[in-house]
Point group: C2
Chain length 108, copies 2
Amino acid sequence: MIATTPSVPYYAVIFTTLRTDIDQGYGDMAERMVALAAEQPGFLGIESARDGVGITVSYWQSLEAIKAWKAHAEHQIAQKTGRSDWYRQYKTRIAKVERDYGFDKDAA
Amino acid sequence: MIATTPSVPYYAVIFTTLRTDIDQGYGDMAERMVALAAEQPGFLGIESARDGVGITVSYWQSLEAIKAWKAHAEHQIAQKTGRSDWYRQYKTRIAKVERDYGFDKDAA
């Protein structure tokens, strides 16, 4: 559930959202987009949580991979429906991960 | 609830966590750390959600501001207790936000 990512540098897309009350199709779309993203070249991993605000962070090898995923036909439809139906507000931030470190109690 | 951040570039700290079953002191600490972070020089905003995995993204003006916050005495104690008590696993990623864009239905 915490993404296993390679050595830096790599890229993160931080997608923060507030939902509308419209649920129709949302769950299926969200699940499908995670599965579809995972099939794309350059995909490294994804982390997602929602309580009130939703935060999904996907990790990618390059800016080119992120650009290609944004332009993917089925993803484009999801983005459009997101704006018309599911999201009241969102922000997408594209960031270069320059440093990372972690902790694992089982390994500590 | 979606952070209002300035024009790029700025920095993001993506803190992804899995909790232990130990709740003692966790809620107070989490609330206190958000309030304390917001008082630090260079702090720009914070977004947080948990369901299973927890994701907290804080935004900062510079790497120096992030470094100073990491070294803050009270934050150091929280980090130490995090490893001993509250977190089973975590990953911290420091990233430079190079591009961002958003959508607001009320403004659309």
